[in-house]
Symmetry: C2
Subunit: 339 residues, 2 copies
């Protein structure tokens, strides 16, 4: 027996012991029959989800929603996976700048590239949105869509998170995976609606979240169809096509889905318009939820002052709109599968 197996067995034993000790006997039958949300604490937040799903799926319910109309949308960064210490896609862009730098000797003296190569985070921050766009164009354009898919897929397989030392695709929130599966089991179609790049996400959303490419909405750059050596390809151009963030999210939802969601999940001020668009309807039960990052021990704690995933206006708007804040600390028994 190797050490990994021993470790796994020890963890399993500890988990079983902990479960038996922590759970009241009365809740065991529910678990045995398959609690759909086992990583969620049995509290008001979990109850809000169960109550909503019951209300919109039970025949005869005044809030019944037909299956085709059961659309649920999820932000990605900070809602389905970890967005600290920086967006995963930004980590990708920075590593691509380093990987491509010997083809671009001019970058040594040119911002924002110099800042990236010098690991000068302050100078990088100073370059602002303009600098960020330059980095994206230099690393995300100038190749075919097929080539970019290979580059992004290869990177996501090998890159590791600086704190957790694990692939980013293991830094997805276990309670949200359960929520996605639970909604789908109840006839919902689940969509990602993210400010992140649509083609950065699509190669891995199906194996990781069970969400196929055609149900991923995101930001994009322009592409152009052309024949290259007698074969058709889509060439990625250095020009923004669409920013799927803030007020762009309802626009992206309308463009890609063509229906108004009945449930939406986010974590930052960039998600508020999506939650407004979903929940501010006359008649009918709707669900809006914001993941609140308040668990410095198991993940990160941040909201109003964060560079990534800032949640400020949302903390004010949530109670006014009837949106639920999900406390990672209190509402989630575990955050990652490996914990």
């Amino acid at each position: 027996m190797n050490s990994t197996l021993i470790h796994r067995r020890a963890v399993l034993t500890a988990l079983l012991a902990a479960s038996a000790a922590a759970l009241p006997l009365s809740s065991l039958p529910a678990l045995a029959q398959g609690d759909p949300l086992p990583s969620w604490t049995d509290d008001q937040t979990k109850q809000a989800i169960l109550t909503f799903v019951d209300a919109v799926t039970r025949e005869g319910s005044p809030d019944f929603v037909s299956v085709p109309q059961r659309i649920a949308t999820f932000d990605n960064d900070g809602t389905l996976w970890c967005e600290q210490p920086m967006y995963v896609q930004l980590a990708f862009a920075l590593e691509r700048v380093k990987a491509l730098s010997n083809q671009h000797p001019e970058w040594k003296d040119k911002q924002p590239f110099k800042a990236v190569l010098d690991n000068d985070i302050e100078a990088l921050a100073k370059s602002g949105m303009k600098g960020l766009m330059e980095l994206i164009m230099a690393t995300h354009a100038g190749m075919s869509t097929a080539e970019f898919e290979t580059i992004a897929s290869d990177w996501i397989k090998t890159a590791r998170h600086p704190k957790f030392k694990r692939p980013y695709t293991e830094l997805v929130y276990q309670p949200m995976l359960e929520l996605l599966a639970y909604l789908r089991a109840n006839g919902f179609k689940t969509f990602i609606v993210s400010g992140g790049g649509i083609e950065f996400m699509r190669p891995w959303t199906e194996p990781v979240y069970g969400i196929p490419p055609e149900q991923v909405v995101g930001s994009s750059i322009k592409t152009e169809y052309k024949m290259q050596n007698g074969q058709p390809e889509l060439s990625r151009l250095p020009a923004i096509s669409f920013i799927d963030d803030g007020p762009g999210k309802p626009v992206g939802i309308n463009s890609h889905i063509g229906r108004r969601p009945v449930a939406a999940f986010g974590n930052s001020d960039g998600d508020l318009e999506m939650l407004e668009w979903t929940t501010m309807v006359s008649g009918g039960k709707r669900l809006g939820m914001l993941v609140h990052h308040d668990d410095a021990a198991r993940e990160y704690a941040y909201d109003r002052k964060s560079h990534f995933g800032k949640l400020d206006r949302g903390l004010v708007e949530a109670p006014q709109r009837g949106w639920t804040l999900i406390s990672m600390k209190d509402d989630w028994k575990r955050i990652f599968k490996f914990q």
Copy 2:
């Protein structure tokens, strides 16, 4: 018994008699067991479809395609429904100009509106693409997406085709409805990829074709998210967002679907890039088909010189690429359900 019922019974009797007379006995069991394409003549074209579906869906076949990859895309105008004597959406725009003209007294003296109000087709044609865009902006923008959906839905319910005197939604091709259902029964996800307006199509594609809004790709104008009297809405702006035609079709497919189709169906030169993108792959069986309008008796006959749905380059490219031309006259036993 009213006359409609009498008529129906007569038609049914005639159909049964015709079937029994025309079909060799050997094909009757296949029909009894449910021929999936009963409106298609039993010829090479039908066989090409059956052979393709068998090749990509049979376990162990060298051309097997997994269910998530079974994407089939369909042009709309001229491929799924009638596009003569003009695109249905253009008929809608012209009628909207007339309906709105008393709010716009200036249109009486201003092209291309004057041409519409005077029924002056020649002057309208002269106004070209620029004129067409002006008509679209005047009739398709300046309201919320919800308002536009109501306007378009109401129109499609009451408008009648000038030749067939029936709702446009009855002028869908019965053989193509059977093909859509047959592909779906074999694990395909069916998409519309049309040069037409995405929001013009979405209100009726689900009841008419079984294609939900999220599987409709089309041309679009820009929309903007805003709060109006304390309610969120998407406002339709007089600016083009995307033209889903010609080389735009692979771009639209990539943006909305994120996978390359394995089968594509069109009828005009505006569909050729979609068929190239679908079929020009190394390895794996693919299907590209073009509906050829060669039936003046039952529908219309047109190709190289048509204003709408011109098929010129496609007639040259089809044999080179291995695409099948569907002869409406020879390959389709009937065109519309009511015939």
